[in-house]
């Protein structure tokens, strides 16, 4: 009994338990949402021709798709499959969901990483520029630019840009078959360019703001003033002390964005025909491929939770103050 209690008190174990509970919650939510959506696999594949089917035929189709069983049974049968590595099958194309996901996930991850890089490339120098002389024109100017980046629906600008490039210069890499990074890096990067730019711009504003804010905050810190008083040259001060510490919250913000990028990339993936996870789930929803949606969303959630868990653990190990809590 005491062993169990001490296990419970161990915060790591508690965290893992919470992570598992979160995943269960996600799976139930996905399952429920799908079942509540109007229509099912029969209407999705037959359309109005489903009306020509007799009740017997409908019953046999329901059995085939596994939707005749009670909901709870369906849930556990799917969950059981997932826990043994069988993520299910897309009924129309007979594709294995695990295969589809393993193909699509790295693409979205690549898009997310590139977008964060774009955001950093735009936001950090911008924030530094703004903070270098707070209140001056460069500050207000760059704040305005950042504001516009946040306010304009970027996907619209991206579509317009893409159309214009195709029309004017006949340049349209996204019209070609999608190429993965290792297969054809040149084409891949061209295909990712506009999407990553679009997503990157839309998340560059928080990066900009955070950089600016933390640089301004750090500059006033005691240890910086001490260093300045001690005669440390300004350039070294900027680089070693200010910059390094200022960038910490920036990196944190970028990490937070990642989770949102996974979900928010759906629109961009759809517009630019990027065969990523978001598009897979979206198409799964329209085609009423329950297994595809349930398993893919679960995979995304697992990733999300795993990353959170891992960083929590390392954070506690590294930061003594956190350990004391």
């Amino acid at each position: 009994m005491t062993a169990l209690l001490s296990l419970w008190r161990n915060s790591f174990v508690r965290r893992v338990l919470e992570a598992v509970l979160t995943l269960v919650g996600v799976s139930v939510l996905t399952f429920a949402v799908l079942r509540v959506l109007p229509g099912d696999q029969i209407t999705a594949s037959y359309g109005i021709e489903a009306g020509a089917l007799s009740p017997d035929q409908l019953a046999s189709l329901r059995a085939y798709y596994g939707i005749d069983k009670p909901l709870v049974a369906q849930y556990f049968s799917w969950l059981g499959g997932v826990l043994t590595g069988n993520l299910g099958v897309a009924t129309q194309s007979q594709q294995d969901v695990l295969d589809m996901t393993l193909r699509a996930l790295p693409i979205t991850l690549q898009l997310a990483v590139l977008s964060i890089l774009v955001a950093l490339a735009l936001g950090v120098p911008g924030g530094l520029l703004a903070a270098s002389r707070a209140g001056a024109l460069r500050d207000n100017g760059s704040q305005l630019v950042s504001l516009l980046a946040l306010s304009v629906p970027t996907f619209l600008v991206a579509t317009a840009l893409s159309s214009w490039l195709a029309n004017r210069f006949g340049y349209n890499p996204n019209g070609e078959e999608f190429a993965t990074l290792l297969r054809d890096p040149a084409l891949n990067l061209q295909q990712m360019a506009l999407p990553a730019l679009t997503l990157g711009v839309s998340i560059a504003a928080p990066v900009f703001q955070t950089t600016r804010a933390s640089v301004l905050a750090i500059r006033d810190e005691d240890y910086i003033r001490t260093a300045r008083a001690k005669g440390v040259p300004p350039r070294r001060l900027q680089g070693r002390h200010v910059l390094r510490n200022a960038l910490i919250p920036v990196v944190t913000i970028s990490g937070l964005q990642f989770g949102f990028l996974l979900g928010g990339a759906v629109v961009i993936e759809q517009i630019f025909s990027i065969p990523g996870i978001g598009r897979q789930v979206l198409l799964g929803m329209t085609q009423k491929e329950y297994a595809v949606v349930q398993s893919t969303v679960l995979v995304i959630a697992v990733l999300f939770v795993l990353v959170n868990l891992l960083t929590d653990v390392v954070y506690r190990l590294v930061d003594p103050q956190a350990r004391a809590q």
Binding site: S151, A213, F304
Partner: protein, 294 residues
């Protein structure tokens, strides 16, 4: 889009009306307020039907007319006046923004505050629930909800609210965790005041500044989310006008009638910029260290 919070902690006693007034006196705040007023005026016109034309009235003899003295923003293929539809669309978008942020704000803050204040298993349960919502791809959640329920501005609002609820919960929880140990709060419970009462009497009023910032941010995001939902075909259904819906409808036809895309798009930008400026001004006022003049 991130759950940006202020970079600093919560001041011991935040000035009340002072913060708002100070914010509005900044140049950014002024511009934000002006833009907000413009939007508000147009939206009010839209709500009470004070527009030059009935937004739903079709007049095919005036189909696809460019901006002119008679139709300031031109007409669409049904001959409907785009200016009137933009007003109506602003009213609709504003309504969705307010309702969705209202629902997610009130519920989220309540949940977050309770979780932070009581701690223990309440906090854990809330933590798991908000994580579930975070881990679920946000736009898809909104899509699913919008597709399930009868499409109307109410369901679109609920769909958007569900996405932002965990953000409010998280934002509200953090300062509560710190405030729990502040002198006047512990003193209050020490003298026997029930915890819940302390909560609402002392803790919440000191947080409202941060919450206000989050509210303005969320209002602007909700407009953009509605636009994204419409873009995927799940926004407010016609014939009601919504900015996102107008942009979605205008995509192809904008090749022959660019005004159908430009003006609703511009309205979205102006609205969101105004809200963000206001939010920025508020944030600078409440926490001088997060930026602004020195």
């Amino acid at each position: 889009m991130s759950a940006t919070t202020t970079a600093a902690g919560v001041p011991a006693r935040a000035p009340r009306g002072g913060a708002l007034r100070a914010a509005l006196l900044r140049p950014a705040g002024v511009v934000g307020l002006l833009l907000g007023l413009v939007v508000l005026v147009l939206a009010v016109m839209g709500t009470f039907g004070l527009t030059p034309y009935d937004p739903a009235k079709q007049d095919v003899t005036q189909s696809l007319v460019g901006p002119s003295g008679q139709h300031w923003f031109g007409t669409d293929q049904f001959g409907r006046d785009v200016f009137s539809r933009v007003c109506s669309g602003l009213a609709n978008s504003l309504r969705i923004a307010v309702v969705s942020v209202g629902i997610s704000g009130v519920l989220g803050i309540l949940i977050g505050v309770l979780a932070g204040y009581y701690g223990g298993w309440v906090d854990r349960v809330v933590g798991v629930l908000t994580n579930v919502l975070f881990a679920f791809p946000s736009l898809l959640l909104a899509l699913a909800l919008a597709a399930t329920l009868d499409r109307s501005w109410v369901t679109v609002s609920i769909a958007i609210a569900t996405v932002y609820l965990p953000i409010f919960a998280r934002v509200a929880r953090a300062p509560v965790l710190r405030l729990r140990h502040v002198d006047y709060v512990t003193a209050s419970t020490a003298i026997g005041r029930p915890r819940l009462s302390t909560l609402f009497a002392h803790v919440v009023p000191n947080m409202w500044g941060i919450l206000l910032v989050q509210v303005t941010l969320s209002l602007s995001w909700s407009i953009l989310t509605e636009a994204a939902l419409s873009f995927l075909g799940f926004g407010t259904p016609p014939p009601a006008a919504s900015l996102g819906g107008m942009v979605y409808d205008a995509q192809t036809i904008s090749a022959v009638a660019p005004w159908m895309l430009a003006f609703p798009g511009l309205a979205i930008v102006v609205f969101v910029v105004g809200l963000n400026l206001l939010g920025d001004a508020l944030r600078s006022t409440l926490d001088p260290r997060s930026g602004g003049r020195r």
